[in-house]
Amino acid sequence: MSIDPFDTTLTRVVPQRRRRRFGEKIGIGLLACSVILILAILGVILGDVIIHGAGHISWAFISESPRQGMTEGGIYPAIIGTTFLVLLMTVAAMPLGVGAAVYLHEYTPAETPKQAWALFRSAQRGDRRKALTTYLLSLLARGTRIAVANLAGVPSIVFGLFGLGFFIQFVGSAMDRATQPEGQILWGQGNLLWAALTLALLTLPTVIVATEEALRTVPEELRAGSIALGATRWETIRRIVLPGALPGILTGAILGISRGAGEVAPILFTGAAYYLPYLPEDLSSQFMHLGYHVYILSTQSPDVEATKPVLYGTVFVLLLLTFLLNLTGVLIRARTRSKLRSGG
């Protein structure tokens, strides 16, 4: 079939210019509407919290324990508990997550299992073993990535149940049997350590995915340049790849951490306390937590109306903490970026 290049009837199928412009306007308008809607929702939430909460903030509120059935006093133990929990979670999740991502991206083969299988099929006798290793590693990488993606989709309450079943009832009880001759319970109950580990599991997918994404942004030529100078793979990773990926890794870490800081479901059964007159002393202590405090103030209090000001104040502090955390992340990232540009 041939087309006559001078046949003007063909162009009549193209819609009129005006109609196309109209469609374009509607499209852009819809996009703008969704942005405005999101901003509006965010504004309402923030406005509500600030209007009702900011007034309740005082030095006493952030430095004292709750009193009078939580209708008065402050939230100091909850602030401290949340801080410890988040720090511990970070210490547990970061090395594991970054390590897993570096292994996945830098050490396992870039081939898909299918490609690796094809290479194995075509390999000569002497190269069979190497090709088989490549195939098995690519399977491992594929499996791990699928597992990580699925982990990210697991509801947080399931992580809480897992923490209860695995850390407390399995690991904790075993530790108690080994270390407590008279059958006391020390590790076989919720505490700071188990709650932090449970939260770390929850944030792990975020950290792994973000780190792998950051590693992908380091150009392949830099790796080749380093290898060609006689650097080993590990030296290349430590001196070239990780520094280059650092801003991205930090972003991911902070996203994960600030998500973890606000999660309540995973710590419900793994260590958060309704009310404690003292601060956590070590890893086996229970603790109060801002998010959990909000939950109990709004649902478990005998007088919900009387706790409302405290409730708003607590939410305000929780938001402020998360915001500060994000801000720190952004600042660190900006600093590392400009340092990299100027060649520090």
Partner: protein, 273 residues
Amino acid sequence: MTVETRETRAARASASQDETPPGSTKIAVRDFNFYYGDHHVLHDITMEIPAKEVTAFIGPSGCGKSTFIRSINRMNDIIPGSRARGTLTLDEQDLYAPSIDVVALRRKVGMVFQKSNPFPKSVYENVAYGLRIGGVRDRRVLDELVEQSLQRAALWDEVKDRMGSSALALSGGQQQRLCIARALAVDPEVLLMDEPASALDPIATQKIEELIYELKSNYTIVIVTHNMQQAARVSDRTAFFMMGKLVEYDETNTIFMNPTEKLTEDYITGRFG
């Protein structure tokens, strides 16, 4: 890890440590074949590359010349499914023997890439990189070797006042010479250059070519180029590759003035490619 003394350094500064006399065989290749999976990239390459001369590889895109140059420092190892058959020796040592230390080999055979790839670090740290991973810690030794390498790469005068600023702020030509300085810092004997000037303007290209001419008194240089005039200008010997085969290899003058093969003549006169 090697510890450098003042004496060994002085000895090295005066002349490159490579004792191979110019013109004698540095790299010998016999029936060398290379594969990526099912793909047979290089077919029975046999050639000898002389020491302290410039050998140019020319040929149409996809002819295997880049793969071949990357076989000499085993950069192809990174690619899974790649394998080599036949022998490739450097100073009569088989580079594909199981006992070979690939990391040590790559310090002996430096490489400059088509796209300049300075690290996102300072000018100083770029040149010091290979020395640092080689275990040189002494600041004075580092300073001296960095300056010497930059001088050898004809870049010192342009960057001596901005050693601390980012290498990425240099011009394209300066970046490529920085990559050459970086490769020279670890004191290689062979320098592989994979189209080192293909992304540069004519003036920067000329500087690189002058540099190659100066460097060949101390280093064995192998250069891949798409630019026929460049091969004619800088090289002593030229190898013409096509479809993974070495078609002709001879003195550059002979290749360009009086080639034996019809294919070579057709390519050089621009009848294809």
